[in-house]
Every structure is written in structure tokens, then in C-alpha cells.
């Protein structure tokens, strides 16, 4: 899914960000660079500093130290410039129960200074995007938690932000809504937006992001799958393979110079550095007569990488 694309100016650059809440050091010299047009996961345990970072990027919280630019502007010195281009969806937020979904989005259209005639159409467009068009006239009080979550997401992109900050966006979403969210988020990035998504549910992130940044203890402890951009070191990604005959697969992998791990499901797992490498390996295996029936990125890869980075950080 990651289509390398031309290397763009980083949409988010942070250097040595620090912020403390009383005695708690939420950010401890965090460095981050996120290119435009990419969806980047912000992964870390609870209390790692993800929400604090997003608050700073959204121009709501001033860091104690360090520098940060979002879409070329400083959120502390030029908060309005930043807010014009940043969409933010907090992990916990409320909606106005007395309004209808349509009115709610029109209200935020006004808050983002959308021209008045544009607001109703933009609201309808967004409701269709998050599959709530049949709820447009329903008071928000009557929406389910997942529907409110989708409405909150629609709200965050009312003004077509160039930088989208999503804090745990998939919580409370059913699988179908999650697929919809993934598609909508991808569409934002296809249109050139930079998307930073935080979560601690790794499987839901993996399906929508190009790469991941691991945060723990207020610092970046590792990156994953960032080969395509940002100048970050490339990371290995696990691929799951299965063939009709297990023996020939193992032999084929060995002859290709890959150390394969056994996998519980009767297949093998290899670490590859790019999709290019994956395609090469597959071609080689097939040419070598291995009857491959399945080859896909391992969905547990992000989780393993995260756990590995956690180990690396604590050792």
C-alpha cells in the first residue's frame, strides 16, 4: 500500500520537545519528522506522551522546551496559522447533544470560517463520507458511540486540513466503521494531507498506516516501516508465507539466504526490508518451483516491532 512517492517537505518537525505536568514528565526530548502525504502511526503505551504531543501539535498546549513546526508554522507563536491547517480529533471528546449531526458540522464550518453558503454542502459531504448521511437530521443525543466517533472524525476534517491529528480514532468503532475510517484516512493522505494517528491497539493502526513511530517515556524509541520517507532508517517488516509443501518452502527460503521462522499456522515468517524485496523473493521462490499459496505482510509485525523497541528502550 505504501506508494513511496516524491519526497515532500516534512509536515511536522519536532526537536527536543519537553513538557511536564507537575512532576510527571510527559515529553522528554521528543524528536519527530513526519512527511506530507503519509499516514504515520504514533504507537506507545498509555502515558507515553502521545496525547501530549498531539495537543502541542494542535496548538492547544505550549511545550516547556524544544521546537516544533506544523505545516511550516510554529504552533506557539502562530497558533492561528497552525489551527487553520490542522485537524484534531482528541481521544476523549464531547458533542453537543442538542444539535443535529448536520448542525454540528455546520457550526464547526463556521468556527473554521468556511464561507456561509459552503457550510451546509460541506456538512452533507462529510456526513456522506463517514456514512452518516441518513443521520443528518437526528439529534446527536440519539447517535451511538461509534456514530459520534465518526461524527467527531468528520468534524476534524471540516476545513480540509493539511495535517490531521487523530488520537485513538478507532476506539468504539465496529469493524465496518473501522474499514470506512481506514479508507477515509487514506483518502486524506492521498489528497496530500499528513496524518498522524495514535493508538495502543496496534492491529487497527497497521491496516491504515504507512509507517509507525514508537513513543515511550516521552521519547521516540523506534520507527517501523519508514523506508519510503522521512529519511529515517529502514526497518524490517515481517512477511508470512505458506506453500503446499512446507519442506520445499523452507529449502527455497534458505537458498535465497533468508532465515525463516516457523509459524504456528504451518507457514514461515521472514523479515524483509521492502515490498521490492518481497516481490523479488516471491519471484525467486516461484521460479525455484516452490508452490506458494500465500504471501502477505504479517499483521503482527507492528506489534512485534513495538515490543522489540520497548525492549530496546528499557535495556
Amino acid at each position: 500500500m505504501a506508494a513511496g512517492g516524491p519526497r515532500a517537505e516534512p509536515a511536522i518537525v519536532a526537536h527536543g520537545l519537553t513538557h511536564s505536568f507537575g512532576a510527571v514528565r510527559a515529553l522528554d526530548g521528543l524528536d519527530l519528522s513526519v512527511p506530507a502525504g503519509r499516514v504515520v502511526a504514533l504507537v506507545g503505551p498509555n502515558g507515553a506522551g502521545k496525547t501530549t504531543l498531539l495537543l502541542i501539535l494542535a496548538g492547544l498546549l505550549a511545550p516547556d522546551g524544544g521546537s516544533v513546526t506544523v505545516a511550516g508554522a510554529d504552533p506557539v507563536r502562530n497558533p492561528f496559522e497552525v489551527r487553520r491547517v490542522v485537524g484534531w480529533m482528541p481521544d476523549f471528546f464531547g458533542v453537543y447533544d442538542g444539535l443535529t449531526a448536520q448542525e454540528y458540522l455546520e457550526l464547526f464550518g463556521a468556527a473554521y470560517r468556511l464561507p456561509r453558503p459552503e457550510r451546509p454542502t460541506r456538512a452533507r459531504e462529510l456526513l456522506a463520507l463517514v456514512q452518516l448521511e441518513d443521520r443528518a437530521a437526528t439529534p446527536i443525543a440519539g447517535l451511538s458511540r461509534g456514530q459520534k466517533q465518526r461524527l467527531g472524525f468528520a468534524r476534524s476534517i471540516v476545513h480540509r486540513p493539511r495535517v490531521l491529528l487523530l488520537d485513538e480514532p478507532a476506539s468504539g468503532l465496529d469493524p465496518r466503521a473501522r474499514v470506512n475510517l481506514r479508507d477515509v484516512v487514506r483518502r486524506q493522505s492521498d489528497e496530500g494531507a499528513c496524518v498522524l494517528v495514535s493508538s495502543h491497539v496496534l492491529s487497527e493502526l497497521e491496516e491504515m498506516t504507512d509507517s509507525a513511530v514508537f513513543v515511550e517515556g516521552g521519547r521516540v524509541t523506534g520507527e517501523y516501516g519508514t523506508a519510503g520517507g522521512g529519511g529515517a532508517p529502514s526497518a524490517l517488516r515481517a512477511w508470512r508465507l505458506r506453500a503446499l509443501d512446507r519442506g520445499s518452502l523452507a529449502a527455497g527460503l534458505e537458498s535465497a539466504g533468508h532465515a525463516a521462522r516457523e509459524n504456528g499456522g504451518g507457514g514461515s515468517v521472514v523479515d524483509l526490508e521492502s515490498e521490492q524485496a518481497a516481490a523479488d523473493l516471491l519471484a525467486r521462490l516461484v521460479a525455484g518451483g516452490v508452490r506458494v499459496v500465500e504471501m502477505r505482510p504479517d499483521s503482527g509485525g507492528l506489534e512485534r516491532a513495538f515490543l522489540a523497541s520497548g525492549r530496546g528502550a528499557s535495556s
Binding site: 494542535a58 498546549l61 487553520r84 484534531w88 471528546f93 464531547g94 457550526l107 464547526f108 468556527a111
Partner: protein, 288 residues
């Protein structure tokens, strides 16, 4: 814009309060009329209107601060404030929208008393200009009360405590001022005049209203109507300080000025607390 939203939020409950407000005032006014109708020397219309003005002011002191004392902390609690602050809305726009919504609501409450005012007019003898000034002042006072509630809601995170804080300030104005005025005489030598102590009473909303409203009847007298009577006493009070019984100067400009400065300060405080990016959060406070 935010104001229209606030209104909607109130919903059905709002109408119940409005109805209750009207009924209580209707009852009080009927009582005032019954009390006065036995006395031949009292002009019924002005007496009733003066009473109505005092009743409305007292009830406004109870109702209006609550219109705003949950406005900002309530949105913080509900997690709706941070997303507003993340938009292009300026802090003062959010604060003034809240204040405006409350003032509009208060205006609706005042409008609900108009039928009662018409009743007073029907009894005859009420000076229409004075009645107009009364309503204007009631609206200004409501704005001041709403601003006090707004500041409390911005400064105090917990809803109940914010309401207590707002009412503490309102009570300081209404009940605190006469107490302080009274206490200021302790230790003063016998026969010492009031001097400039009238200033201690000036911030009181009742004093401002009574002093500023022109006579409801043909002239300001001690008797006649409660509002005019109070105003008459106040002028006497101040004239004592200047020793010029002829044409005593007014107290209300001082009081009203004080109140307007207080409201402006309160609103500025609220705006300041809405400013983002926030540098520092108090322990346990969340932005979102």
C-alpha cells in the same frame, strides 16, 4: 453562533424555569397589590411597578449567575471546549458568545415580565420613561451578573464550586455592601455624619436601580412606591454627606461604573483562561 447552540442546549428545562419565574413574580405582584390596596394614600400602579422591579432584580440575582456559571467548565467537563479552542475561534469570541447567550436568555426572562408591567400600567399612574429606564438597568445588571458567572466558570473547574463562587460575589454585592456600610459606623464617634460612606453602598444593584430610576410617580417621595422610596432615602443619605439638602447628587453613576468595571474584569479573566496554547495546566486539569 455559539449562542444559538447554547440556547438549544437548554431545551425543555429552560421553558420550565421561565414559566416558574413568571408564576413566582405574578404571585409576588398580586401579594404587593393586596397589601397596598387597603391604603388610600398609595397610588396602586407605581407601587406595584416599584415592587415588581425589586422582585425581578432579586430573582435575577438568583437566576442569572447560574446561566453562565457552568458555561465554560461545563464544556470542559463534556470535552467540547478543547475542540472549539482548536478552531479559528478567538478566545474572546467564545467568551462573548457565552455571555451573549446568557444576556439574551436574561432578556427573555425580562420580556416574560412585560405582561406584569402592563398590569401595573393598567392600574395607572406609572411614568413610562421611568419604567423604560428600569428595564434597561435590569438588563445591564443581568449582564454584570452573567459576567460574574462566566468568570467563575472559567476559573473554577468544578461546576458546583463555580456556582458557589459566583453567588458569593453576587451576595457580596447585594448583602455584603449594606453589612459593610453598617459596620463602618462601629467605632465612629457619635454624631459623625455619613460622610463618604455612601460609596460602600453604591455597588449594590438594588441601590443602583433605586437611585437611577427616575420617580415613577410625579415626584420622588418617601412613600408611594418601594423603589422610589428607597431612592429617596439614598439621596437623603448622600446629601447628608455633602450637607446640601437642595439637590442631592446621584449615587448610581459610581455604582454602575463599579459594576461595569467588575463585569469587564470578569470577562477579561474568562477570555484569558480560554487562551491556547496553554502554558501550564493545574494538576489534574486536562486540555481536552
Amino acid at each position: 453562533m455559539v449562542s444559538e447552540l447554547r440556547q438549544r442546549l437548554r431545551g425543555a428545562r429552560w421553558w420550565v424555569v421561565l414559566g416558574l419565574w413568571f408564576l413566582v413574580l405574578l404571585g409576588l405582584l398580586a401579594l404587593a397589590r393586596a397589601a397596598a390596596s387597603g391604603t388610600a394614600s398609595i397610588e396602586l400602579g407605581p407601587f406595584m411597578f416599584g415592587s415588581l422591579a425589586l422582585f425581578v432584580l432579586s430573582l435575577a440575582c438568583l437566576v442569572v449567575p447560574s446561566l453562565t456559571s457552568g458555561a465554560i467548565n461545563g464544556e470542559r467537563q463534556a470535552g467540547t471546549m478543547a475542540v472549539l479552542q482548536a478552531t479559528l475561534l478567538r478566545p474572546w469570541e467564545i467568551a462573548l458568545a457565552k455571555l451573549g447567550a446568557a444576556v439574551l436568555t436574561a432578556a427573555a426572562f425580562l420580556a416574560a415580565t412585560l405582561p406584569l408591567a402592563l398590569w401595573c400600567f393598567a392600574e395607572g399612574g406609572v411614568n413610562a420613561g421611568a419604567a423604560l429606564v428600569t428595564y434597561l438597568l435590569l438588563l445591564v445588571t443581568s449582564t454584570v451578573l452573567a459576567a460574574i458567572g462566566l468568570a467563575a466558570s472559567a476559573l473554577v473547574r468544578r461546576g458546583a464550586l463555580a456556582a458557589v463562587a459566583a453567588y458569593a460575589v453576587v451576595f457580596a454585592l447585594t448583602i455584603g455592601t449594606p453589612i459593610v456600610f453598617g459596620l463602618s459606623f462601629i467605632g465612629a464617634g457619635e454624631g459623625s455624619g455619613i460622610g463618604s460612606r455612601w460609596v460602600l453602598l453604591a455597588p449594590n444593584p438594588v441601590v443602583v436601580l433605586a437611585d437611577a430610576v427616575p420617580p415613577l410617580t410625579r415626584e420622588r417621595t418617601e412613600l408611594g412606591d418601594p423603589l422610589g422610596g428607597l431612592g429617596f432615602l439614598l439621596r437623603e443619605l448622600r446629601s447628608d454627606s455633602f450637607g446640601q439638602p437642595g439637590n442631592p447628587p446621584a449615587i448610581w453613576p459610581v455604582g454602575l461604573g463599579f459594576q461595569i468595571i467588575l463585569a469587564a474584569l470578569a470577562t477579561t479573566l474568562a477570555v484569558d483562561r480560554l487562551r491556547v496554547p496553554a502554558r501550564r495546566l493545574r494538576p489534574g486539569e486536562r486540555v481536552a
